[in-house]
C-alpha cells in the first residue's frame, strides 16, 4: 500500500473527472439561464446543488487517495460513522438501547476501520458479522428490557452491517494482493466508486430526460425503467472503458461493472424502502442537493462487498 499519488494513471483519472465535472457545471449554468417555469427551475437548482456537491466530494476523495491507504481508511471510516448516525436517528429506538449504541458508534465502528488500517483481513471480515452480531443482543439483554427486543437488536445489527461492515469493503480493496499489481489497489477502489456513482448519476440523468415508466412506484417514485436501463448501460460502458486501470480484461470489466450497477440499484431501493416506511424522503441534509450521506452511498454499500469478494476469489 504505497502512496500512489504520483502514479500517472491516477493523474489521468483525476484529470478525466475534472473535465467531466467542468462540462457538467457548464451545462448546469446554461440550463439555469434557459429553463423556464417554476418546476423546471426547481429541478435545475437541485441539479446545480448536486454538481457543486460533487466538486467537494471528488476533491475529498482524491485527497484521501493521494495520502495512500490511510486517507481512504479514514475517509470511509468517517463516512460509516455519519451514515450510521443518520440510520439510527431515523429508526425508532428505545431508551434501553443506549449502551448498545455507545458500543456501536464509539467502539465497533472505529475498531472495524482500525482492523482494515492494520491489514487484519481475517478479523475485519468476521468482527461485525460474528462478534458484534452476538454482542448487540447480549448488551441489550443486560439492559434488561424485553419490549420489542428482537426488532431493537436487529435494527442495530442491520445498521452495523450496512453502514459500517459493507462500507468498509471499499477501503478493504487496498488489502488485496493481486500478483503484478503491488501498490496499485487504489485503482480498484476508484473503479468501484466511479462505476457505482456514475450509475446513480446516469440513472438520474436518463430518468429526468426520458423517464416515463416508474420501476418501483411504491418504494422510489423517482426511479424509472428508462433511467435504470440508461444508467446501467452507461455504467457498463464506463466500466469497460476503465479496464486498463484494473486487473480485468475488457469483458471481465464489463461484467464487474454490470454487477456493481445492479447491486447499486437494489441497494438504493432497499435503503429507500426503509426511508419510505419511516415517512421521510432523505436520510439527512448533510450534502446539499443529494440529502444525507446515506442517500449518496446506498448503492456503494451493496456493491462493495460483492465486488471485493469476486475480485479476491478470481484475481488473487
Amino acid at each position: 500500500m504505497n502512496s500512489f499519488s504520483l502514479d500517472p494513471q491516477m493523474l489521468e483519472l483525476g484529470a478525466g473527472i475534472f473535465v467531466l465535472l467542468l462540462v457538467a457545471s457548464i451545462i448546469g449554468f446554461i440550463l439555469k439561464k434557459t429553463v423556464k417555469g417554476e418546476r423546471g427551475q426547481e429541478v435545475i437548482l437541485n441539479l446545480n446543488a448536486r454538481i457543486n456537491a460533487w466538486w467537494v466530494m471528488i476533491i475529498i476523495f482524491f485527497l484521501a487517495m493521494a495520502t495512500g491507504g490511510i486517507g481512504s481508511v479514514i475517509l470511509f471510516g468517517l463516512t460509516s460513522f455519519l451514515a450510521l448516525r443518520e440510520y439510527i436517528t431515523l429508526t425508532p429506538t428505545h431508551r434501553a438501547d443506549h449502551r448498545a449504541h455507545v458500543w456501536a458508534f464509539f467502539i465497533i465502528t472505529p475498531l472495524q476501520y482500525v482492523l482494515i488500517g492494520f491489514h487484519n483481513y481475517g478479523l475485519a471480515i468476521i468482527m461485525i458479522p460474528v462478534y458484534a452480531y452476538l454482542f448487540v443482543p447480549i448488551r441489550n439483554v443486560i439492559a434488561g428490557d424485553c419490549q420489542d427486543f428482537l426488532a431493537r437488536s436487529a435494527k442495530i445489527q442491520w445498521g452495523l452491517m450496512v453502514c459500517v461492515y459493507f462500507v468498509s469493503y471499499a477501503p478493504a480493496l487496498l488489502l488485496l494482493h493481486i500478483p503484478g499489481r503491488e501498490g496499485q489497489d487504489g485503482k480498484l477502489l476508484y473503479f468501484l466508486v466511479c462505476v457505482a456513482q456514475m450509475s446513480d448519476v446516469l440513472q438520474y440523468v436518463f430518468g429526468k430526460c426520458f423517464g416515463r415508466h416508474k420501476i418501483a412506484p411504491n418504494i422510489s417514485p423517482n426511479k424509472t425503467i428508462e433511467g435504470f436501463v440508461g444508467g446501467v448501460a452507461g455504467a457498463v460502458l464506463i466500466g469497460t472503458g476503465l479496464y486498463w486501470i484494473t486487473p480485468f480484461n475488457p469483458w471481465q470489466a464489463a461484467l464487474m461493472a454490470l454487477l456493481i450497477a445492479l447491486m447499486g440499484f437494489y441497494g438504493g431501493l432497499v435503503m429507500s424502502a426503509i426511508k419510505r416506511d419511516r415517512g421521510v424522503k432523505d436520510y439527512g441534509a448533510t450534502i446539499p442537493g443529494h440529502g444525507g450521506i446515506m442517500d449518496r452511498i446506498d448503492s456503494l454499500c451493496f456493491a462493495a462487498p460483492v465486488f471485493f469478494h469476486l475480485t479476491r476469489y478470481f484475481f488473487t
Binding site: 460513522f81 448516525r85 439510527i88 436517528t89 431508551r95 443506549h98 455507545v102 464509539f106 441534509a285
Partner: protein, 200 residues
C-alpha cells in the same frame, strides 16, 4: 471565544438543524421556551442561535446543580452565562422571578423550560406559571415556542455518555399575553404552541 468553540462543538456532535418557522434568527429580545427531555436541551437551543444573539441569551438553570462543582460553575457562569435560580428553598426574598425579570429589564434574552423538569414520557407536562409571570411583567418581550427533537436520545435521563443522534430545533411564531387572558388559558396556549412545532 470558548463559548463559540463550545457551541460549534455541540452543533457538530448533534448535527442540529434549526428551522426558524415563525420568526427570524436575529437579536430581538425574546424568551425562548421549549420542551425538556434532556440535560442537553439548553445547550442545543443555545448553540443554534446566531452568535450575536447567543451572547445576549441566558439559559435559566438550577442553582443547586450548577453550583455543585468548580467546572460546572465555570461552565454555567463563564461559558453559558446561565441565570442560576433557587428551586428548593424559595422564599419571598429570593423569588427567582425577580432575577429573571431583572435580566429581561437589562435587555437580555432567556431560555426557559416551563415543564419544570425533564420528562421521560412522550407527552409534555403541564406548564408551570413562570412563563405567564414573565409575559405579564414584560409584555413587549417576544415569547418564542421551541420544540427540541432527539436531545433525549443523545443523552437520556440517567446516562452519562452521549450518542451523536441528529437533533432538530423548530422555532415558532412569538406569543404575547393577551389582555384579560387568564393564567391557565395562556399556559395551555403556550404549551399547544410548542406541541404544534413538534409536528411541523
Amino acid at each position: 471565544m470558548i463559548a463559540e468553540l463550545f457551541a460549534a462543538g455541540v452543533r457538530l456532535f448533534t448535527g442540529v438543524q434549526a428551522r426558524w418557522l415563525g420568526c427570524a434568527p436575529d437579536i430581538t429580545q425574546r424568551v425562548y421556551f421549549a420542551n425538556h427531555t434532556s440535560n442537553l436541551d439548553f445547550l442545543v437551543l443555545w448553540s443554534v442561535l446566531p452568535s450575536n444573539a447567543r451572547r445576549k441569551t441566558r439559559p435559566v438553570a438550577a442553582s443547586d446543580y450548577w453550583r455543585g462543582g468548580q467546572l460546572r460553575f465555570y461552565l454555567a457562569d463563564h461559558v453559558f452565562h446561565g441565570v442560576l435560580i433557587e428551586r428548593k428553598k424559595v422564599t419571598r426574598s429570593n423569588n427567582p422571578m425577580d432575577q429573571l425579570i431583572a435580566v429581561l429589564k437589562g435587555g437580555e434574552s432567556l431560555i426557559i423550560f416551563p415543564e419544570g423538569g425533564r420528562t421521560t414520557e412522550p407527552e409534555m407536562r403541564p406548564f408551570k406559571s413562570g412563563l405567564y409571570h414573565l409575559g405579564k411583567a414584560m409584555p413587549d418581550v417576544d415569547l418564542v415556542p421551541v420544540y427540541l427533537d432527539n436531545a433525549n436520545r443523545v443523552l437520556p435521563k440517567g446516562e452519562f455518555l452521549p450518542i451523536p443522534f441528529l437533533c432538530s430545533a423548530n422555532f415558532g411564531t412569538p406569543l404575547h399575553l393577551l389582555p384579560d387572558e387568564s393564567k391557565d388559558a395562556f399556559l395551555t396556549r403556550a404549551r399547544a404552541a410548542v406541541e404544534a412545532m413538534a409536528k411541523s
